[in-house]
Symmetry: C2
DNA sequence: CGCAATATTGACGTTTACGTTAGCGTAATG
DNA sequence: CATTACGCTAACGTAAACGTCAATATTGCG
């Protein structure tokens, strides 16, 4: 049962990160867990954010870029001007992500082709050896 | 006219990187340009490799991972054992790239949804303001 | 109660991927 | 022929993203 509040240790086990990593993310204001005295307690919201952080990292976004992206998922009582800026930022990120996916699709096709060549080579040599 | 041999300066202009970057990649054995005396000369092959390097970076692969990937594109007179290893490495990379693309597709859908919410908010406030 | 497990803050260390500066050689240009 | 442009190596510097270690609570268990 995944309860609502998790200790730092539970978070580490769940997401395969170290305590240092979570504290570091907090220092960079990517996370803001509650406190029980001095101990951190992570909520469902924190876990959602961490998922987004780790996902962003896998795509090569810097923590600072990820921090900005996270703002998008935290649209509260922002000023109109700020909301427009947030929106523009989101659009730019979206465009970049789509471009990356297209490129990734190409890269996948390339690699598959290369692997086909390697496999042909392997089959050849097997025949010779056989 | 893109000639066959390019100086480091031409490479930098073409790929928007610094000389330091190209020398660094060479030191890490990702590139191995020819020499005219002490001066580097980059061939078509070097340019193809650099494209792959820059592409890999955009997907968050480390230079070391990219170096291994590049071996795939350089299948020469390898030993049978080495060829099999190369192939396995390629398969793993391919699987990871496919997984990343799927995740990226999800992330894109997520972000689009969020942007829709933001846009709805913007429209609302505009109506109120109007 | 004692002790291991888990947590904290701080501070310094490490790796990756280059940036920057220094000091030198070569080449073309006004 | 001096200067400007371009290139080289070597070496030190740096930002990002943590790792590691020390010193100190707190908490649960036998």
């Amino acid at each position: 049962m995944t309860h609502d509040l998790m200790t730092i240790g539970e978070m580490c086990a769940t997401f395969d990160v170290t305590p240092r990593t979570l504290r570091f993310y907090e220092s960079r204001e990517l996370l803001a867990p509650m406190r029980d005295g001095s101990k951190r307690l992570f909520t469902r919201r924190d876990r959602a954010r961490l998922k987004l952080i780790l996902r962003g990292k896998r795509f090569g976004f810097s923590l600072e870029e990820i921090r900005q992206l996270l703002e998008l998922y935290e649209v509260g009582d922002q000023q109109m001007t700020q909301l427009v800026k947030t929106h523009e930022l989101g659009i730019r990120h979206l465009d970049e992500m789509v471009a990356r996916r297209d490129e990734l699709t190409l890269a996948i096709a390339d690699l598959r082709e290369q692997l086909d060549l390697v496999e042909a080579l392997l089959t050849d040599r097997q025949k010779v050896a056989g």
